[in-house]
Amino acid sequence: MTHRGINWIGLWTIMRREWSRLMRVPVQAFIAPWISSLLFIFVFGFVVGSRIRTIAGHSYIEFVLPGVLMLNVVNAAFLQSTAQIYFQRFMRYIEEVLVAPFSYVEMVVGALAMTVVRAVVTAVGILLIGVVFHATRLQSFPEFLFWIVSVSLIFGLLGIAVGLWADNFEQLNMLNVFFITPLSFIGGVFNTIDMLPPYMRWIAWGNPFFYLINGIRHSMIGYTDAPEGLGAAVTIILIGFMGVAVWRLFSIGYGIRE
């Protein structure tokens, strides 16, 4: 029934279940981020963008769109994993997974799988819209995929932790308001590092969002503000650290087992 000790069918079933849940709200899940990106392209590309000089040799929309894309990927990953875990806890059907033969690693992988799928679908949709409206291009698809998957893993893991911790809907959104949105806005979505006041530049270098935005931007338009290797190393270390932390939360039953 299982192969090589991994409950593949079980993992696939978690994905099927989450896909079914996602398809109850397809507009919220996919259409909303695509429409918001379309509006960004219209405003920053045609309305405001035409009055702004180029940034680092790129039109303003070309420079901004990778950041906008990343914000939507962050949102998709974080919402997917928090909602998934929180609703399972809230309606208690997380017990279905607890009583089934899943290892804790499989529980974490299961919770992340649809998060990555949703994030990749969101990102590819925005990329296609950008390409169709001549607002962006794609330098390297493998690199693009690496960064999208990495971003979705980081914020998927963060979302799982929040989903396990939160006791009400208010708490679900706290991290987004006080941490994710501010850090992403000062991480270089709308500007290069050189455009920041000197005293704020060190914040950008210590801000993980900076490396993520930079990586996605490089994969799309070839522009980089930081060494690629450094960004990839920071990202992989972050994923490893957060993966172990979330695995530990599952193994001690934090938020899911009394």
Binding site: N7, I9, R16, R17, M91, E95, L98, A100, R257, E258
Partner: protein, 250 residues
């Protein structure tokens, strides 16, 4: 023979400090139909949660067919099917999805899943409700879905936590017949219930828990043989006075 369930010195203390189960030791033999009785809050559901992985035991050991339910939880859980007291499902999912997903969690492939789901939906008279969402069903139908879900991977040990609470007489009788059939075919069943008639009719061994401790445990005949039958035995064991004893008191 290895017992279907062996619990030794189980203790469960909740974060609030409440001691729900204290030094609980009991065995359930393979093939037994075991009644687990006790007042509300006595520790029945907590014990079941510790067995199935919904709660972490504070101390003690639990073995399911000789497999450690904590250290080798992965394998132990394959042996168990649980019908919990409260509905723990995605209420927006359909009847088929709920049963099919559980089969998938237990590693059944698509062909096996279809066969098991179809058989169980038919057995529990749910076929005509297969595409309905769980939230649209009546209480009795919901209970049937939970039972079908518990059985979908054909577990060796079936744990039923008040499976007939809130269901009509017809379904209760039908369910009794089905459980007896399953037990005759070799399935070990642990049943908790507040209906003593149900336990008296179905079970061969009975344990009574009160205040987190087993206060009486043995073959059903031992309970029925005492004056006043199972009801008096239950009331005495749990510290309540049977009516006729209370009436005779000065």
């Amino acid at each position: 023979m290895t017992p279907a369930l062996h619990i030794s010195h189980l203790r469960k203390v909740y974060r609030s400090g409440t001691v729900a189960v204290e030094d609980l030791t009991m065995d359930i033999q393979q093939g037994d139909f075991f009644g687990f009785l006790g007042p509300n809050g006595a520790g029945k559901s907590t014990t079941i949660h510790c067995i199935t992985g919904i709660a972490n035991p504070t101390s003690g050991t639990i073995e399911v067919f000789g497999i450690d339910a904590v250290k080798d939880y992965h394998e132990a859980r394959r042996q168990i099917g649980l019908s919990p007291q409260e509905f723990n499902v995605d209420t927006f999912a359909t009847v088929t999805q709920i049963v099919d997903w559980m089969a998938g969690y237990f590693g059944l492939n698509a062909k096996e899943r279809k066969a098991r789901v179809d058989m169980l939906l038919e057995r529990f008279d749910l076929t005509q409700h297969a595409k309905k969402r769980f939230r649209e069903l009546s209480g009795g139908l919901k209970r049937r879905v939970i039972l079908a879900r518990a059985l979908v991977h054909d577990p060796k040990l079936l744990i039923l936590d008040e499976p007939t609470a809130g269901v009509d007489v017809e379904l209760r009788r039908d369910l009794w017949r089905y459980l007896q059939e399953l037990n005759r075919d070799g399935k070990t069943i642990l049943l908790t219930s507040h209906y003593l008639e149900e336990v008296e009719r179905l079970c061969r061994t009975i344990a009574i828990i009160a205040g987190g401790k087993i206060v009486r445990n043995g073959p059903k005949s031992g309970f029925l043989g005492s004056p006043g039958g199972l009801e008096d035995a239950y009331l005495i064991a749990t510290g309540a006075e049977p009516d006729h004893i209370a009436a005779a008191a000065p």
